[in-house]
Amino acid sequence: MTNGWVDMKNTDMMLIMGGNPAENHPCGFKWPVEAKRTRNAKIISVDPRFTRTSAVADLFCQIRAGTDIAFLGGVIRYAIENSRIAKDYLVNYTNAAFIVKGDFKMPADTDGVFSGFDAKSQSYDKSTWNYAGTGGGDATHPVGGSAPPAPKLPEKVEFDLSLQNPNCVFQLLRKHYSRYTPEMVERITGIPKEQFLKAAELYTSIRKDGDMKKAGTIIYAVGWTQHSFGTQIIRTAAMLQLLLGNVGRAGGGVNALRGHSNIQGATDMAGIFDNLPGYLKVPTPADTSFDSWMKRITPTSSKPAPWDSFNYWGNTPKFAASYLKALFGDAATKQNGFAFDYLPKVDRNYSWVQMWDNMYNGVVKGMLAFGMNGVAIGPDSKKNIDALKKADWLVVGEIYPDETSEFWKSPGITQDEMKQIQTTVYRLPCAGFAEKDGSFTNSARWLLWKNTALPTPGDARLDQAIVAQIFLKVRELYKKEGGKFPAPILNLTWNYSNPSSPPLAEVLKEVNGKALADLEDPATKQQIKTGQQLPGFAWLKDDGTTSCGNWIYCGSFTEAGNQTARRDPSDPSNLGLHPGWGWSWPANRRVLYNRASCDADGKPWDPTRRQVWWNESTQKWVGNDVPDFKVDSKPKDHMGPFIMNPEGVGRIFAPLGAFADGPFPEHYEPIESPIDNPLHPAQTHNPVVKRYKTPDDKYATPKDGYTVVCTTYRLTELYHYWTKNNPMNVQLVPEPFVEISAEMADEMGLRGGEKVKVSSIRGEYIAKAMVTKRIKSMMIDGKKVYQIGIPIHQGYRGIKEDEGKDARTLVNLLTPTVFDPNAYTPEFKGFLVKLERA
């Protein structure tokens, strides 16, 4: 989240889409409700079903799963056409005025793809996706050498503050989304034009008559991410928010609701293969030294000449050097590039779906599965099960016996087949959440320490103890037997008081980082002695005098102690900042880009919600929140508030390699869709999305008889595949079900409670029908389309209390193996099925 849960109480308008927080985040949903109660804030709920969130919304639109870009694009068009945009914000804080290179072409002109598409490799040459300007090593001016260097942003960007230049970002935006008319939105999304216009009117009403006081927030979750164009949906939301001047403001922002208590933490600590902790880009085989790696991943500023840009990622070498010092200690020296050679170089895609594909194809031989139920998670559970059959070994660390550790018992496998499966499965009893300490990083980026409540039962062990003991054993083997490249293992720092079960507080201390030499801040003369914990990432050095496991967590465990364990509930500003409650990255800042909450002169847009402001007398940025800005940058210097971008401003146009599939989001259909893309029928799907080719990977079209749009989701009453092991949860939702519209049930002669079989081209799922008014049939591009929904929670491993009720099949037997090209998230929402009585 750019903002935070508590901040939602400050909002005037909420667009909740691609998420169902009332269902999945009931505790956090307190704050939207608070905004309704105390500010008369409005909720617009856009969802394939009328959900628990819709139940308390002021306006509901039923959307076809996977058409969110069309909806948001339509709202962007509406905002521009009706002048409901934040003009000053747009000009000063976004790249709306930047001029884009003349050879950039958009899908309307190039058959549904952006300029530079290579159909053979299904990828883009992104060199045209750039600003017009000079300097910075633009690809059109290669500076010698044999291979042309990767294109770079121009140092000085051409711009037009009147926003009239036909090639300025704003005009391109207007042109691109001019195609997203209410009629087109209706054809694609199935939302009747009048209903869509109501929603667009309501959401943009916060900028009625140029008023800048109000703020609107966009709240989303995996209903947006789990698409083959998920990242682009979120991009569209971010663009809309920039257009309306909502980013950086109390009650504004783009707010991702994370689906588990510590998903944010997992992401921050490099949950995805293509980054290192703190979102440092991983080295690739092309990076031959620390310096060349740094050169590639450290951006240089790119902005209109009269403006200023902080370009905070310019500090990347400090973060990377400190990270390597934390990893390898004394073995990392300036001379050896901080042991850069020890870092694995990522040569290809190692994402979730790819990993299973690799196991299926015999490349991956074994798996350590902790804290997740891989078979049930899917997508295409059958492929995952088939992959495990081929693996040599599987280690599952869990608190319950789960579907993954019993993959060989999944329905459809005969006794004879079971005997053929040679995979050795090790089941390790682990500790439950109440049995371990550590920090959770919540959706609001708050790190909150928790204590152990209960001892681990029986033979159960802490996860870190299991991992540590595996590491120690591996290190011992390397020590004894040598090996191809023992240095990274042998030199890894492991200075814990209990090496075989590292206390997590010590790990957090290590992540925070410390001074490796006496340091002094030249401006304040503040000193830090060798060995002391660092107070924040501003102290990080690229000369090896600091270590830090994750630069954005620097400041979480200082000399003052564990900041994440703080529990001061006070909130002097009454803006829900609670600066003494836990610790928020970065630098205990609660709202990101909060400089944008002020106008160009540094005065808050809304004087009643003062987050930060320019103090004329001290010539500094001060505030209730920690300013997300260079504190002494005068407003007249015109430094952009989006300090993590080399432009210093928000990107309405995302240049160059920012995204794999286009600088502006374009509506593409899900990989399985009931219609051809009305915008460009020849290019229905996201052009860069690749399909897998194993026998288990099948993709359907309506012609195959799969015409019903299916989406999957969770229920409040259950937590993933886990709580079905608890009788009380089983009592709340005793049986799996499929939500079906009353109209469709009538057509099938089906009554609520009767069993239905849902089949996709990949598998089937049997459950009872929940016939409801909350899903309706839709007219999609002139075709009547039914939509159904299935909660994901059940599986073939249950308990006594749900015996006989569970269909014993996994919902993810239905879902396709295909993923978003930017974030590698599989497309769990909006695939095609057919429905029969079971």
Partner: protein, 297 residues
């Protein structure tokens, strides 16, 4: 459940005076349920089960998100889910109403109960069942206009929400209130809750599309210790059959009122009448006129 620190102002099936009646300065407590902010998360259901240590009960899928069709002796707090199409604009509403004992000021259960002290009303307004005194007749079930008390078929004792009298007597809020994530549940004095509820209803009338929003505190049972804010207070029935104008059922009123007096008068009158008749007319035949009626031969 016995609550030593709470005094009693009404006792079921009780002859004579009530020890606590009018002896204590005490707030009437009240639970406010704002149905317009309920998200049906069932945290209150689970909290109720956890606090009261209620055992697992078998449920079956019933074409709804609702946990079970109605409250049970071991399930006192149930959110009722109802899909409702608005008459005015045809839009869908998914109404969620937490259903439990309403803690009526004039409780029908207590009126109907024949067992001395099986149902009491504390001076703070909580209506509580004392299972130790319950005889299992089920009359309370007939007295409740909200169909709340439920009998355990094994022990033949009736159970229902206690408004967590044990917690309230210690100055805590009921478990459901504590667990509610959205703040749709509030607990406090009746006066404060009424104020809050009326304010919220006014807000809904003025700022949301709910011109008929209002507060449900039915006068037919003397007001309730659980009050609702409803989107449409003119149609409480759409919230899973919340009665529009609940009263203690006329059968119970008739039985406990006129019929009781009629019966008492008739019985006592009959006895007196027969006695007087005997005094006036005596037996039909004098002893001497009768032949030894049944003596041994």
């Amino acid at each position: 459940m016995s609550q030593a620190t709470l005094r009693v102002q009404k006792i079921s099936g009780h002859a004579g005076t009530v020890p606590g009646e009018g002896t204590q300065r005490e707030y009437t407590v009240c639970k406010l349920i704002d149905t317009t902010t309920c998200i049906g998360c069932k945290a209150c259901e689970v909290a109720c089960m956890e606090w009261n240590d209620l055992p697992f009960g078998e449920t079956v899928f019933d074409n709804t998100y609702q946990t079970m069709p109605e409250t049970r002796w071991n399930y006192w707090n149930l959110i009722l889910f109802n899909e409702h199409v608005r008459e005015d604009d045809g839009s869908l509403m998914w109404l969620m109403r937490k259903n439990q004992c309403m803690h009526c000021a004039e409780p029908g259960c207590l009126a109907a109960c024949p067992a001395d002290g099986a149902i009491v009303q504390y001076t703070n307004g909580i209506v509580d069942f004392q299972q130790a005194n319950c005889i299992g007749c089920g009359y309370c079930i007939t007295g409740c206009p909200f169909d709340i008390p439920k009998m355990n078929p094994k022990t033949h004792r009736v159970f229902k929400c206690t408004l967590c009298a044990d917690r309230v007597s210690e100055g805590l809020e009921p478990a459901c209130i504590k667990s509610c994530p959205t703040g749709c549940l509030h607990f406090g004095s009746k006066e404060d809750m009424k104020f809050l509820a009326e304010g919220r209803a006014k807000q809904l009338r003025e700022h949301s599309n709910h011109p008929n929003a209002g507060v449900y505190d039915p006068p037919g049972v003397g007001g309730t210790g659980v009050i609702y804010v409803l989107h449409d207070a003119t149609k409480p029935e759409i919230y899973g059959g919340l009665p529009k104008d609940p009263h203690v059922p006329w059968t119970v009123k008739l039985w406990k009122g006129p019929l009781k007096w009629l019966g008492n008068v008739a019985m006592v009158g009959g006895l007196i009448g027969l006695f007087v008749h005997y005094l006036r007319y005596g037996p039909k035949a004098r002893e001497e006129e009768d032949i030894n009626p049944g003596g041994k031969p």
